[in-house]
Symmetry: C2
Subunit: 340 residues, 2 copies
């Protein structure tokens, strides 16, 4: 089985964005009534993925995708907690409908209703709802809800512990994923996403989060930002600081995905990090669409790169399936119960 652990609902029916627009308009103009999400038929939900993520997943030989709301659409920088709660719930509910309509091919990962500097109670509650009531298997955690101003404490700070406690209890991992950038210095897709991956890895190196939460698991997407390319730098920085090396310190709990859109990057990722900590993912129909004119390979067709990375059959199994089932045990339990 081939599991793509990183897909976003970038093709949701237009009612969802209309609802968001109305929500923000109501926020700007306190007099308006709170909007409601217009009805979306099952057919519309089906069509929104059947001709997009599901089609491409199947064409490329994939079986199942972990599916979450559009990352740039989370917009945690909007500071109103009630707005964030309703927006996350609506977005997650729509993902849930996709997972119900195509249970063989999608499993849910939730958006959290974070706001800059706000308490995490709402996020914990939404995580519990999504996992316990909707059958989701993970969440996306935004280390910078401000959207590029980085006003929150590092992920090793006790501020985040309530969420880690719930994740540990529910046995679900988080993918570290920022949302849209409100800082003109950081292009959302070309800088902010990668910077967040890099920054969080270093935050984890500086702290001892997994000493306190030994079973907590975090997935750093986009191939780990700059980290694998600079792996020697991280090893040297750890040594200079008298700290354990990043492999010993972090790789029991931290995993990287394969959202790196060319062969040399994928090769380096596997060479440096090792296949035990790499999970297949494409973020397909996301940041980078279209195909490399030189090769004809879709930019986000990461399976094509992993196929050529020279992995043994055992390593392929790890990257395409085994690691995902280990990092997402609720997914594994479901698949096992289905005989998959």
């Amino acid at each position: 089985m081939i599991i793509d652990i990183h897909g976003h609902y970038t093709t949701a029916p237009s009612q969802l964005q209309a609802f968001r627009d109305a929500q923000l308009a109501a926020l700007a103009d306190g007099a308006r009534p709170a909007p409601a999400l217009a009805a979306i038929s099952d057919d519309a939900v089906r069509e929104s993925v059947r001709d997009h993520q599901l089609k491409v997943l199947r064409e490329r030989g994939g079986d199942l995708m972990l599916f979450s709301p559009k990352a740039s659409g989370m917009e945690h920088h909007v500071p109103d907690a009630a707005i964030a709660r309703v927006w996350a719930a609506a977005s997650n509910d729509l993902v849930h409908r996709v997972t119900r309509l195509f249970p063989e091919h999608f499993a849910g990962v939730c958006q959290l209703p974070q706001v800059p500097g706000g308490p995490l109670d709402d996020s914990v509650a939404e995580l519990r709802r999504c996992v316990s009531d909707l059958g989701f298997v993970g969440c996306n955690l935004n280390p910078d809800p401000s959207g590029g101003h980085w006003t929150s404490p590092p992920l090793t700070d006790p501020y985040w512990y309530p969420l880690y406690e719930a994740m540990t209890e529910l046995d679900v991992p988080a993918m570290i994923h920022v949302s849209t950038s409100c800082n003109p210095s950081f292009h959302t897709l070309g800088a902010h996403y990668l910077n967040a991956d890099t920054s969080v890895f270093m935050q984890l190196m500086q702290g001892d989060l997994f000493g306190r939460f030994p079973s907590l698991r975090l997935v750093i997407p986009h191939g780990g930002g700059a980290v694998p390319y600079h792996w020697g730098r991280y090893r040297g920085l750890a040594m200079r600081a008298g700290r354990p090396g990043p492999a010993e310190h972090l790789l029991g709990n931290v995993f990287f995905d394969t959202c790196v859109y060319h062969q040399p990057g994928i090769d380096l990722l596997h060479q440096v990090i090792g296949t035990e900590n790499v999970l297949f993912a494409s973020e397909m129909l996301g940041a980078v669409r279209g195909a490399d004119p030189d090769t004809g390979v879709g930019w986000d067709d990461t399976k094509a790169y992993v196929d050529r990375a020279g992995l043994t059959p055992e390593q392929r199994h790890q990257v395409f399936e085994g690691n995902a089932r280990r990092v997402y045990p609720l997914l594994d339990a479901r698949l096992t119960s289905e005989g998959r």
Copy 2:
């Protein structure tokens, strides 16, 4: 000849830091008189590099290092313009003394007296002084003088044009280099430096800076941050935006150094970017000191990695010397006049 284009004066005599401390104390306590830099003998300057950068440079087979004040010590986040002017001048003057004492082995690159949001007049003046009076061949440009809050406009903004005009007139390049991080989310060496490299490359992709300044040259250090590892992502983002690809758009004006501290990273850099745009550098005695216990190779002994990158003699010449002489024409002119 082997030219290392990225060295900082991390081993300056202690009087320099004492001066800085006094300067900041005077700033905090307006009643104090402005401090003066204590006398530093030529012997002390000689010793400060002879047993450090110069020794290691020569041991590794290097000939000449482009030398600038300590990057994390620039501290552009201190908002007082007069303090910044005096601090940059003192730091640059000390670098100048190194270049005078060891003219065969060091050439100067200057710190600019930037302050967050301030006009660039002082930076232009200091650049002119360093190049015209002190014989410096380049400068370090900080895209985020705030130190991790990223409050300045992108490097494509007209805010920066006065500096580019002076650089163009003087025919000197800038290395993009942030200073210490004041944001606890960003470790200075493990996140902020790399994030800046990544962010600036994407800023340049979004704009058309070299349409306006066709001879402007920028060096992105630390192997380009995350960029070469994600080269497919950048190609795809450009294509999706209907923009020219990053190679056509930027590689006439943008160069990467080799401060990547392990073999797979150096290999990827050369494979993806091509040797025409890669300049040898170590940032030695900088972020990452000591040696890899697995191989015995110093982390920042980037020559060892480049030596093993499978380059042809022509490519080696480009990376070790030719590109540096092309990007830093004032250095080339000086070397040529010396018959080197």
